[in-house]
Symmetry: C2
Subunit: 446 residues, 2 copies
């Protein structure tokens, strides 16, 4: 008998170890998951596993379904502090009259600290074990994430114009690379180039990013084809649609995680598929800002990898990945007029493995397989809203709510235990958020 | 000082006593709500109320927002027992190969009892204080609802063909009327005619229902224009679209709650508006079955009263009205390409007063006003996903989840207290649901 750190004995396991379930049923019963040294050491039949491994910390999980942790493939985590600050407005009025002025007035390292902590508290309590962030002071975001024990990819943000973080594209890139260098030994934090969008970054920095990303084998995280306005502006300014411009620059590769992608011609879907570009779908943000509908069903049929993101809390207005993957599935059916579009399996797959692939970390996380990091969640289905249990996967996608996530592990460390955070002081986090809220509200009213 | 049963002192109150907030802000602070003999006796300034009224049961609700209870304006509550039974299938395959066979095999009084109890447990825990039901054995649904203390409108269901409940349209109507007679003294239970749909009820019974509804001043609850197929079939069979046929029969009045309404021509929206027809929007069901998009924004602009329903749990797959009103708002923006469509106030209004109006009970419930029934909910915003608080209404609509509903009152009786049900034994309800689930699953597999 080998002694290990922890053994989980869930009532149901959805490992997502295959892209399409070959057995016909992706849900397994009578299983055990062995966690040791941060990794999944074994997954298998309960009795067999228990005859090989022993742990002082063996957790029976009746009524629980265990899945890979959810991966929020696009967010601006510190924007939790602007949650509900302005809603129900046209995009440009929302941005230029509310969000941008508030950001330019308030965003500093303390804001990022408080906002990221609030975001991580919310994400962990909703089953998110990894998030892909794009915002200012990514070094602060990285250190907060590392301290909380959550996995993250932080964006080396790039813009043409000056902000609190840098003055021009060259400085953004050099600050980003310096951060990347500091984080090179981190087990939890990865980096991605994060040129904001085609309309905010010009060709020269984009060309440099394309070259650097290839040299460093580094992912690229970018808003692309978010609105019809973006397409019109690009056509007027560059003579081509944004995707074509990015293609000319050499950015359309498997390293690109293109966020939103609501405006796509059939030929563009083919290009995206043939180049291996990842698409990060943010359905609630797209609906809330009326940006357009991402043709998820058509892209899945073309073989495109789809990941799911919440976007920032000020355009969603939460970081609830269970809600987001349900929304993705429902909207795919509605938008394609096909009730079989993005079924429950695909929705969960996109929110886990799809995210891992989009960030180039699918060898590390995204499914429950031996050798991968123990990034896991356990969801309690013994709630009236998830009974009776014909199909735990259906319940997880279409019926469960985030409050049913009872336990969360990242790299084998339990960060949520019976809904209690183990690495963050929730009262302190809430106190920090409240103070910022009061300060911002008082200065907005006056 | 007058002694009263209970006084609530919420941090925020959203009374929805006006259709559009004249003050600019529909959220009030420093208020008190006085409950006595099942009714709201007074609503007003905290200090003024406390100088006039005294109660042994005065409840301070810091961090809570109090609103009218949510009204689920369309559901088939007992279908909770078929939650997740079949998903991701085209409508007719889903119905004819899965749902209808299961219903014809399993639906009896015991099924209705267990399924309705499960539904009520779920609805109360999510802040729903009133539901409008259409299913078999409505007398059983009524008695379960009355025992649980929740408000309900039960449908006098009518179909052309025989089911377990009746053999032909005449028998459906007479059984319905007998039930209505038995319930005439009930304080909580109302009735509505519930002809299933234009394609399942022929002209003669519809004419009789139109006459009876006028004579008895009774609402009519009907699926109308749910899918494009329904329109095509009606045009082939009757030479007109369903709405025109219903208009010829005299059914398009303020008494009609027309459910779904995804297929509407501009002229039909005008007709619906001018006749005062109520529209019950079920956004998640429409998306999940890919039925089409209800033009909510256009109807609101035309002055149509919009209510919100979850539909049954087998096409949603939950009875979560907070999720549904968020979905309604997001989808309205996406469908109309207008981020200002169905703002947070309108979404909450539709899910409360809109529902009450659609059921003809807006003199009794739907808002927090003196003289109305004390149908109230208190939602705790001290969760990381609803902080900081710039705007409690935005948080309620776009960020809160059902698990934050801490307290629920119907007719002044507290049915949920710190998330505990007071009139239903949750363990017993779950046990009943589990047994039915096992029985159905075993007989489906074999």
């Amino acid at each position: 008998m080998e002694t290990v750190e922890q053994i989980l004995l869930p009532e149901w396991l959805i490992p997502l170890s295959e892209k399409e379930p070959s057995s016909g049923d992706p849900v397994f019963t009578n299983t055990a998951v062995v966690i040791d040294k941060g990794l999944i050491k074994a997954v298998g039949d309960r009795d067999e596993v228990l005859s090989q491994y022993y742990s002082d910390d063996t957790l029976e999980l009746p009524n629980h379904v265990v899945t890979p942790g959810l991966i929020n493939a696009h967010t601006h985590s510190a924007m939790t502090l602007l949650r509900g600050y302005a809603d129900d407005l046209p995009l440009m009025e929302w941005l230029s009259e509310h969000i941008w002025p508030a950001e330019s007035k308030w965003v500093n390292e303390a804001f990022i600290t408080a906002g990221t902590q609030l975001a991580i508290a919310e994400m962990l309590r909703g089953g998110t074990t990894c998030f892909n962030d794009m915002y200012f002071f990514p070094d602060v975001t990285a250190s907060i994430a590392e301290r909380a024990g959550i996995r993250a990819t932080v964006g080396m943000i790039v813009l043409d114009f000056p902000t609190v973080w840098a003055n021009d594209a060259d400085e953004y890139i050099s600050k980003g690379l310096a951060m990347r260098d500091q984080l090179r030994h981190s087990a939890l934090i990865n980096t991605a180039f994060a040129p904001h969008a085609p309309y905010t970054v010009s060709d020269k920095p984009l060309e440099r990013i394309a070259t650097l990303a290839n040299e460093l084998d580094c992912p690229i995280h970018m808003h692309v084809h978010e609105t019809a306005h973006e397409i019109e502006e690009s056509t007027a300014r560059f003579g081509v649609r944004p995707l074509e411009r990015l293609d000319q620059i050499g950015l359309l590769t498997h390293r690109l995680a293109a966020v939103h992608m609501t405006q796509l011609l059939p030929a563009e879907i083919e290009t995206v598929a043939s180049r291996g570009v990842n698409v990060v779908h943010c359905p609630q943000s797209n609906l809330k800002l009326a940006s357009g509908l991402c043709p998820v069903h058509e892209m899945l049929q073309a073989g495109v990898n789809i990941a799911i993101g919440t976007d920032g809390a000020s355009s969603n207005n939460d970081l609830d990945m269970l809600g987001e993957l349900e929304q993705a599935s429902l909207l795919a059916k509605g938008a394609s007029n096909n009730p079989s579009a993005m079924g429950a399996f695909q929705a969960l797959y996109s929110a886990t493995m799809g995210g891992a692939v989009s960030l180039g970390i699918d060898q590390i996380t995204g499914s429950v397989e031996p050798g991968k990091a123990a990034d896991l969640i356990a969801i309690d289905l013994s709630d009236p809203s998830t009974q009776p249990v014909f199909n735990p996967l259906s319940l997880l996608v279409y019926s469960a709510s985030r409050s049913q996530v009872n336990h969360v592990w990242v790299a084998g460390k339990q960060l949520l235990k019976d809904r209690q955070l183990t690495t963050l002081d929730l009262d302190e986090v809430l106190e920090g958020a409240k103070e910022w809220g009061l300060k911002i509200a008082q200065n907005t009213a006056s």
